[in-house]
């Protein structure tokens, strides 16, 4: 079914939860649609004027439809209670411990994703909007102790495989939406708010960061790259970035 629906590949530990729900609900939809569809086609052909010149004043007498409706309700309750609500709660409440995870800030702007790693000390340096210019899009204050080892990139997000990631999502100007289709992750980047998301990448590869919210004329090209690499490669990459500072 996943193949049938044409979902993109799933490269995160929790992606299948989203997919399962999508698949199950599509089963429900197909069954309902096909069921009603057969009934519909049958009635149209069976009760055409030529076949049935005199209509029946009372029509359907059975209460089958009520049972059907109750079944749909029950199904929806299951979807909510068993799947959607707990999964959402997990997503927004059960964050991994910061010390076990890679923590990254992602700041959207028209029309790029600024990626900000805290560096070896694990602390993000101070930022100041007055320092913002084209070389320092985040306004990072390099004289701050915590900022000395901070690494920033534009549109390039490297993450190690099989390790939880926490990404804090912000925006400098308008609303963007940070979307990683292969991770089944999406979160609006809303100016004034700092919203965390988390996931665990499980498949190495090169993927995409999409901007899913209309953010102006460059919305369509606000695309970043996501590289899922081994832990070792990740550390090497960090090292390399650090030495380039």
């Amino acid at each position: 079914m996943e193949k049938f629906l044409g979902l993109p590949i799933d490269a995160s530990a929790s992606g299948h939860e989203v997919d399962n729900l999508i698949v199950i609900i599509h089963y429900l939809m197909f069954v309902l649609f096909i069921g009603w569809g057969i009934f519909f086609m049958y009635t149209i052909f069976r009760f055409r004027k030529t076949k049935n010149p005199v209509a029946d004043y009372h029509g359907v007498k059975s209460h089958a439809s009520n049972y059907l409706e109750i079944m749909v309700v029950a199904f929806e309750v299951v979807l909510l209670v068993v799947f959607s609500i707990p999964l959402w709660a997990k997503r927004v409440n059960d964050f991994p411990k910061e010390k076990n995870a890679v923590v990254v800030n992602v700041v959207g702007e028209q029309f790029a994703w600024n990626i900000h790693y805290p560096g070896k000390d694990g602390k993000f340096g101070k930022q100041d909007i007055k320092l913002i210019d084209s070389d320092n899009p985040l306004g990072l204050n390099r004289s701050d102790e915590d900022a000395k080892d901070d690494i920033t990139t534009i549109n390039e997000l490297y993450l190690p495989v099989n390790k939880p990631v926490i990404i804090n999502i912000r925006s400098k100007d308008v609303i963007h939406s940070f979307k990683l289709p292969v991770m089944r992750i999406g979160q609006d980047a809303i100016p004034g708010l700092d919203i965390p998301v988390w996931f665990t990448p499980t498949v190495k590869g090169e993927y995409e960061i999409a901007c899913a919210q209309l953010c102006g004329l460059g919305h369509y090209r606000m695309k970043g790259s996501l590289f899922i690499v081994t832990e070792e490669e990740f550390n090497n990459w960090l090292e390399e970035q650090f030495s380039n500072l």
Binding site: V92, L193, D194, I195, P196
Partner: protein, 97 residues
């Protein structure tokens, strides 16, 4: 409404008017007391609600209005509360660092 009826209403209007004036003075007076914000808001809103209901009930005759109007206003009030509450609750429940 007969003429006499109207005359007795006028007395009511005058007393409501006086009450409104008194409450206005009261609420202004309270605002000078430097109460903590919680108390200040509570008192100011209570006074405003009283004043508001006096206007609605007597000047706008809501107190003797027809049922349909009540239903419409109850419905409106329900949505009014929803409109006030849900965005505020959403803001409080915002996932944020």
């Amino acid at each position: 409404m007969s003429v006499n009826n109207v005359k007795s209403h006028i007395k009511v209007y005058i007393s409501i008017f006086v009450a409104l004036m008194v409450l206005t003075v009261l609420t202004v007076f309270v605002s000078y007391l430097e109460l903590s914000i919680g108390y200040a808001v509570t008192i100011a809103m209570i006074v405003a609600v009283i004043k508001g209901s006096l206007v609605a009930n007597y000047f706008m005759h809501l107190i003797s209005e027809k049922k349909v109007i009540y239903w419409v206003l109850i419905l409106t009030l329900v949505f009014f509360v929803i409109l006030m509450l849900l965005p505020i609750l959403s803001t409080l429940d915002q996932v944020s660092r």
